[in-house]
Amino acid sequence: MTQDVDLKQIEREAWTAYFHDGLTDLYGGFILLGLGLSMLTDQTWWLALMLVGTAALWARKRITYPRMGHVRFSPQREATTKRSRLIAGIAVAGTLVLGVVLFALVWTNALPPWLEAWMKDYFLVAFAVMVGVVIALGAYLARVARFYAYAVLVFAAFAVSQWLNTDAGLSVSVAAGLIVLSGLVVLVRFLRKCPRPKQGGPGDQR
């Protein structure tokens, strides 16, 4: 072991420890899958998959904490976390508001003709950029590299659908399926790597 241990790296690893369970991936993946399948089939009940995603995140209490343990970060880190959540919340809300406003403007023909024509031609690309940026922001705040790949994947799903003029629901469902699959792989690896400590072991002294 080297003595010049990077304390920032140790803190970063502690911070990202909870993202190694794949549950955040499943959460996002199922939400996107619900969206994609409802777009593809025009059946809104697919949106119920979002509940599965939420359940995956809720399962962290039962799956991750007993295996990974608990940690309380320093007040500075907690403040950064709160700020990150606020930024992420603002980004998501901003994207939603922007999407709704743009949709309303296109719907009511309130946009200048050139912008309206551009929006109609490239609506999915514009949407892809917004969603991709939000996911990339999440990746940056969480400091998890594979989330950047998800951002690219989701951006590509919308963009490819626009360029190939195919059903966006299909490409989004495929991208979401890949994210769910990735989440499952990460989850299985996590469960294998971190078995639940046995009851009655030496840890019970602690």
């Binding site: 003595q3 241990v5 140790i10 420890a17 608990h70 940690v71 400590p197 030496p202």
Partner: protein, 109 residues
């Protein structure tokens, strides 16, 4: 005689090193607790890669030295044991880093 004194002065930073922290496993535990406010036994075990028995034994030594405090608290309704560096432990770790840096910086390339 003079060279002996010079030699003793050269090694002074090394002899000041806190041997309790200098042990690699204990150093790792201290480093992991240094960057957080508190963590439980399982979290430290996962992060350090130490076995349960090994971690338990090293923690006992750090606790005896007053570097680590072991506190019972409730998470929801369940009792839980959290570990944290005491002020003394934090100061000792800062001093250790300072001493090591001084000792290593003094070495020729």
């Amino acid at each position: 005689m003079t060279s002996d004194r010079a030699g003793a002065e050269d090694t002074a930073p090394l002899t000041n090193i806190d041997r309790l922290i200098h042990e690699p496993a204990r150093f790792t535990i201290m480093a992991h607790l240094y960057v957080v406010q508190s963590a439980d036994f399982i979290f430290i075990m996962r992060q350090t890669g130490l076995t349960w028995g090994n971690l338990s034994s090293h923690l006992s030594k750090l606790e005896a030295a007053g570097y680590v405090a072991i506190e019972k608290e409730f998470l929801g309704k369940k009792p839980h044991t959290m570990l944290r560096l005491t002020d003394q432990g934090r100061a000792a770790f800062d001093q250790y880093r300072h001493d090591m840096r001084q000792a290593l910086d003094g070495l020729p390339e």
